[in-house]
Amino acid sequence: MIINHPTLGPRDAAEFVHLGDATLMNRPDWQAEDAVEQFHEYLYQRDNPAGDYRELWYHEQGDRSWLVVTRNTLTHEITDVQMARDVAMQQAKSS
């Protein structure tokens, strides 16, 4: 596969490490009353969609950036790639 890195352009996915669902960026509040339930939901439960999937890849053999990649799990077509840090900053701003 090829991941079109936002700043480095198309790179072989073999340079990357795949982690999983991009929702792993939304770590729950440890002080919530149902924190254990929330963390359980966060860490273990998955939508696992057959279709567009937002997922985290790490450019280990590259610029060490984490990316949020939108990829179709049926066709493998990648429609969007963003720097995860930018996404996380946006989320932090809007929350």
Binding site: H18, L19, G20, H40, L43, Y44, T73, L74
Partner: protein
Amino acid sequence: MRYSGFQVIKQGLTGNKGWKPVWREPEPKKSYDIIIVGGGGHGLATAHYLAKKYGQKNIAVLEKGWIGSGNIGRNTTIVRSNYMLEGNQPFYEHSLKLWESLEQDLNYNAMMSQRGILNLAHSDSQRDAMARRGNAMLLSGADAKLMTADEVRKMVPFLNFDNARFPITAGLLQPRAGTARHDAVAWGFARSADQHGVDIIQNCEVTGFQMKDGKCIGVETSKGKIKAKKVAVCVAGSSSRVMEKAGMRLPIESHVLQAFVSEGLKLTIPGIVTFGAGHLYISQSDKGGLVFGGDLDGYNTYAQRGNMPTLEHVVEDMMGLMPFLGRARLLRMWGGVMDMSMDGSPIIDKTHIDGLYFNGGWCYGGFKATPASGDAYAHLIATDTPHPTATKFRFDRFLRGGMIDEKGSGAQPNLH
């Protein structure tokens, strides 16, 4: 029709014109006691045991394509019970015992061949972890043999002992492990289930569940609505997609595992060997092809195909371990979609919806589990209590902190 050598000769002498269909092709009835969603190995095995062992009647298996066209039809055929943890080992040993009498149970030769599996260790701590595993196997009544490097060399002299980057320090052998002819397992279970009155309905896709008062009362299918007292889902590779129709999220991701086969060769690898410094398992089929595989590709997918890097890694491992295979050729590669669970272990459980059962999350260990999975699932469906060997395969283990994590990889499915 009973199968036997006599039957083969009798039919042969009459032009092989007397063979009968191995299963009927019935139209679905309006309702069943039990509907099994998924005509793969586990679904068919469940039907077989429900009908034959647990005395259930009025059962249907619904398969969206052709029976046996999922992972039972695309795997590397290994059967073993070399597990370590309490939640797993007795279950897989139960499975291995069922394998050992499967052909007689089914009157179908699935070519279960107990040629042994040898896991290689390449460091002292790996050896010690193997000892722990081997001891767990012995504790649950399985067989295990810890071998020294010299013993390994005597047994499989063709491995790279003299110029290896990661020398072999020991091995764990399970002599009773082996391989089986994977398609035949599905066909054998299907034939038996059919003979016990189970309706196997092919090309019948489940498109939804019928719910009433929070209870599951049947399914909607491409062949219309079918009522059932109990609906048991067993659709490895599609678990999330199917359970989503019941509004459930699962602790499962879908990943592709590739498998590979070489051109036919005269016998060169008698048993099964796994490489401990990489990701490779390899055996040779009765037909002569080297059947091998390695790790997941690593990304979530529902496409039944993988990519080059995994193939190359696997063969690099092969050439590191068995450089005499350099001139053998890869003939075919394919991919199967695995239900990768969050701890690498399966789920056989009731759901929170009455009448709806779930069996999945087999990761890439589903084939060897086929008979026990069928037996345990049948037990659960028939009695509403878990089979004694499958008591830990519950949904709630993640919330309660009772993970069954053989590899110690944590909640990252692509590492299991």
